[in-house]
């Protein structure tokens, strides 16, 4: 296959990453360090997610890649083409047909089912990093469950904006133990993490950390008693498919201030349009 | 009245030596073999020339100076207490509840209002702050401190005004033993009379007092007994290098 091993990475590397993944699944939300490899793309383009995908991909898997919900953006197209070439696997844009979905910053609107695997691309895996620059210290804080500072950030949000203004990478507590960064998905997607049927894997290439949320795991978004966690809502449905349940992107349509709101999940939007029609 | 006859304080063979390490270990014996007994309801006045060690004695009994030799026993119904052997931490409760002290000079946190300076001994015992304020204001009024000064810090007051704040602070606690170091020094005749009344009222309550009063008139009116300190209690011949080296704690 063009002189590459199956799925680009050598077998030893894949074994190493799989061992890391096993540990991550065993300790939900815990960040496992791994020996990250150079990938043929820069950091920040999904190298962490790609190494995880490469390590778990089998010949019979069907791969879907999305970027901010869309199948047709550069990042998604490139990564999909990459795995078609180095692993020769079947690809799809339909969430229901995929066995592995690599994603940048969204979870599909179509509910995931048992047997599917989500692979998240993560820029900064450490939710405590904003307040504590030292890695040794944050690891200790996780070990001792010193999580008071996470609420300092939320408090500050309410003090400044009157509500919790964090809208993406909204911190969660996994299985009642580890505070975890769900990657920069909108907080709209946070409830989908809770008791999800699919296995969810997170890979950070630059930081060389991976972590997991196994199927059917409790995932709570941090909040205050008098300011409970809430997701975004829109006043109008999707301008294309009419869905009132999906996460909408604002699209500028002309130079005169024209704009419309459409589903960020292109696959869901297309299916929903077909159903309505 | 039987209990009244029993002394509250019994001092025996008290002596004080200062060792000045900065002066090559110069040793100053400022007090030798002093003894006294003080009963509840009694006011004894220390007399003697200036520098004879009157204030030193009060400071030794208050714990500010260490007792070099001898004993100073406080009598309690459930046993005696020798001040010479008291560990430092024990003085906290003793000063709060038993021994009060009116010094010559007021020493307190800058910028604290006079009335709060006076309230503090009561607050330390957990007295409610409204009650403490009431008592403090009562005393300040009785000592003729103008009401406009009560909420001002005493740092800027005249000597006599500071002295009255100090007296109020000393008398408010109702300690069973009061040490008075020239409380009337900078007062006018009217206020001296008030202090004499306060002392007589305290005596009637059974408070034992040991005081220094330079004003003969006041001394006459408050003293039940005079305690003359004279030069044989002092050995002015300083011994150089007698106690060289480091003093133990």
């Amino acid at each position: 296959m063009n002189g590459y091993n199956f799925a680009y990475l050598d077998e030893q590397t894949k074994r190493m990453i799989r061992r890391g993944l096993l540990k991550a699944v065993a300790i939900p939300g815990y960040q496992v360090p791994f020996g990250g490899r150079e990938m043929p793309m820069p950091y920040g383009w999904g190298t962490g997610g790609m190494q995880l995908t490469a390590s778990i991909l089998g010949q019979h898997d069907v791969l879907k890649v999305i970027d901010q919900g869309a199948d047709d953006t550069t990042n998604a197209v490139s990564i999909r083409a990459f795995f078609e070439r180095v692993a020769d696997v079947e690809t799809t844009t339909r969430a229901t047909d995929a066995s592995v979905i690599q994603t940048r910053h969204r979870i599909p609107e179509t509910p995931l089912v048992q047997g599917q695997i989500m692979v998240f691309q993560v820029p900064i895996p450490e939710p405590l990093r904003f307040i504590e620059p030292s890695e040794t210290e944050t690891r200790l804080m996780h070990a001792l469950e010193e999580y008071g500072v996470m609420h300092v950030k939320l408090y500050e949000d309410i003090a400044r904006h009157g509500h919790i203004a964090t809208t993406y990478a909204y911190p969660v507590k996994v299985d009642g133990r580890y505070v975890t960064d769900p990657s920069p998905i909108p907080k709209f997607d946070n409830p989908k993490l809770h008791m999800c049927e699919a296995l969810m894997l997170f890979g950070a290439g630059r930081e060389k950390r991976l972590y997991a949320i196994p199927p059917y795991t409790r995932v709570e978004s941090l909040d205050f008693e008098d300011h409970p966690f809430e997701v975004q809502r829109w006043e109008a449905p999707c301008a294309l498919c009419g869905s009132q349940e999906s996460f909408l992107d604002e699209v500028i349509t002309d130079d005169a201030g024209g704009r419309m709101f459409v589903c960020s999940d292109t696959d869901y939007c297309r299916q929903h349009s077909e159903e309505v029609a | 009245m039987k209990a009244m006859t029993r002394p509250l304080l019994r001092v025996n063979g008290l002596g004080k030596t200062f060792v000045l390490h900065g002066q090559g270990g110069l040793s100053l014996d400022v007090m030798q073999d002093l003894s006294l007994t003080l009963s509840p309801g009694e006011c004894q006045v220390l007399v003697g020339r200036s520098g004879i060690g009157k204030s030193t004695l009060l400071k030794m009994l208050y714990g500010s100076y260490r007792i070099t030799r001898g004993h100073a026993c406080l009598h309690f119904d459930d046993g005696d207490l020798d001040l010479a052997e008291l560990p430092a931490y024990a003085w906290h409760a003793l000063r709060r509840d038993v021994i009060g002290y009116v010094s010559q000079f007021l020493r307190c946190v800058p910028r604290v209002p006079a009335v709060e300076v006076v309230m503090e001994p009561l607050l330390m015992r957990g007295v409610d702050s409204d009650q403490a304020r009431g008592e403090a204001e009562g005393l300040l009024a009785r000592l003729n401190l103008p009401q406009r000064l009560w909420e001002l810090p005493p740092g800027t007051f005249s000597g006599g005004e500071q002295q009255r704040v100090n007296i109020a602070r000393g008398f408010i606690g109702g300690h069973p033993l009061l040490l008075l170091d020239e409380p009337t020094a900078s007062l006018d005749a009217a206020n001296r009379d008030v202090v004499v009344e306060l002392i007589q009222a305290a005596k009637a309550r059974g408070v034992a007092m040991l005081g220094i009063f330079h004003d003969e008139d006041v001394r006459e009116r408050v003293a039940d007994r005079l305690l003359p300190l004279d030069d044989h209690m002092q050995r002015p011949s300083a011994r150089l290098g007698a106690q060289h080296g480091e003093a133990s704690q």
């Binding site: 008071g148 500072v149 | 390490h21 900065g22 500010s64 931490y89 604290v112």
Partner: protein, 262 residues
């Protein structure tokens, strides 16, 4: 008349504690006890080992030898024999540390209210309204304008920052507070107000305090007892006014006689 209760319960003890960085640098053979409700001052010149001793006593630095014993309400703990988790929890929940420079003790990136609320949140307080009320209450107690609860500490003066740090530390009503030169970097006029405030808080909350200071005037006003340190050792210990008015050790005498008293 009965004996007053003269022996208060011991809260913290150092037993033969040593930590040396070099000859006479650090602390040697330190024995001391802090009693409940008492302010114990540690005085001495720069480099005498005061701050090292504070770090050893407050769980921040493991001694080379000796023990630090904390008498909690329900147990007696050997500070460096218990696990790090327990020790850090102790520091966070039952103890407090006030730094000389308030910027070391504050989170400068978040508001005054978040600073005060942090320890409460660490203890599990999850009600924003109550956190805010506590923040306003404590700002008033340390004489800060409660209206400024959402302002960043950077917009406060040095004295106000120090009061904010104190509020942040005391909000959880700690049993034991360590203070390292709390009035150190402040103007004289600001110092006086802070000293008065500290005295009041110590009395009202029944705090036990270990206070490191090189300023004997501060020690006189705040501390009940003093220990004098020199070259890593305690050379004298006693009542504050006794140490300052009748010092016994040659070094204490030198220290006291070197002070300018207005």
């Amino acid at each position: 008349m009965k004996h007053p209760q003269l022996e208060p319960p011991t809260l913290l003890e150092a037993r033969d504690v040593s930590r040396l960085y070099g000859p006479d640098k650090g602390c040697q053979e330190i024995d001391l006890a802090l009693y409940r409700g008492e302010v114990l001052g540690i005085v001495g010149e720069s480099g005498s080992g005061k701050s090292t001793l504070l770090r050893l006593l407050s769980g921040l630095e493991r001694p080379d030898g000796g023990q630090v014993i904390y008498h909690a309400h329900d147990a007696t703990l050997d500070l460096y024999a218990i696990g790090e988790a327990r020790r850090r929890a102790l520091l966070r929940m039952e103890w407090g540390l006030v730094h000389q420079n308030p910027r070391d003790g504050l989170r400068l990136g978040v508001s005054a209210g978040a600073n005060i609320g942090e320890r409460l949140m660490a203890l599990g307080q999850r009600h924003y309204g109550q956190l805010r009320a506590a923040g306003q209450d404590w700002m008033a107690r340390v004489e800060l304008d409660a209206e400024r609860i959402d302002d960043a500490p950077n917009t406060f003066s040095g004295g106000m920052q120090q009061r904010l740090q104190i509020a942040r530390t005391l909000v959880t009503r700690p049993q034991l507070v360590f203070m390292d030169e709390p009035t150190g970097g402040l103007d004289v006029s600001v110092q006086a107000r802070l000293l008065d405030m500290l005295r009041t808080l110590v009395r009202e909350l029944g705090l036990s305090v270990i206070l490191v200071t090189h300023d004997l005037a501060v020690a006189r006003l705040l501390a009940h007892r003093l220990v004098v340190m020199r070259r890593g050792r305690i050379v004298e210990a006693g009542l504050t006014d006794q140490i300052l008015d009748d010092p016994q050790h040659a070094y204490s005498q030198l220290l006291v006689s070197s002070v300018l008293t207005p």
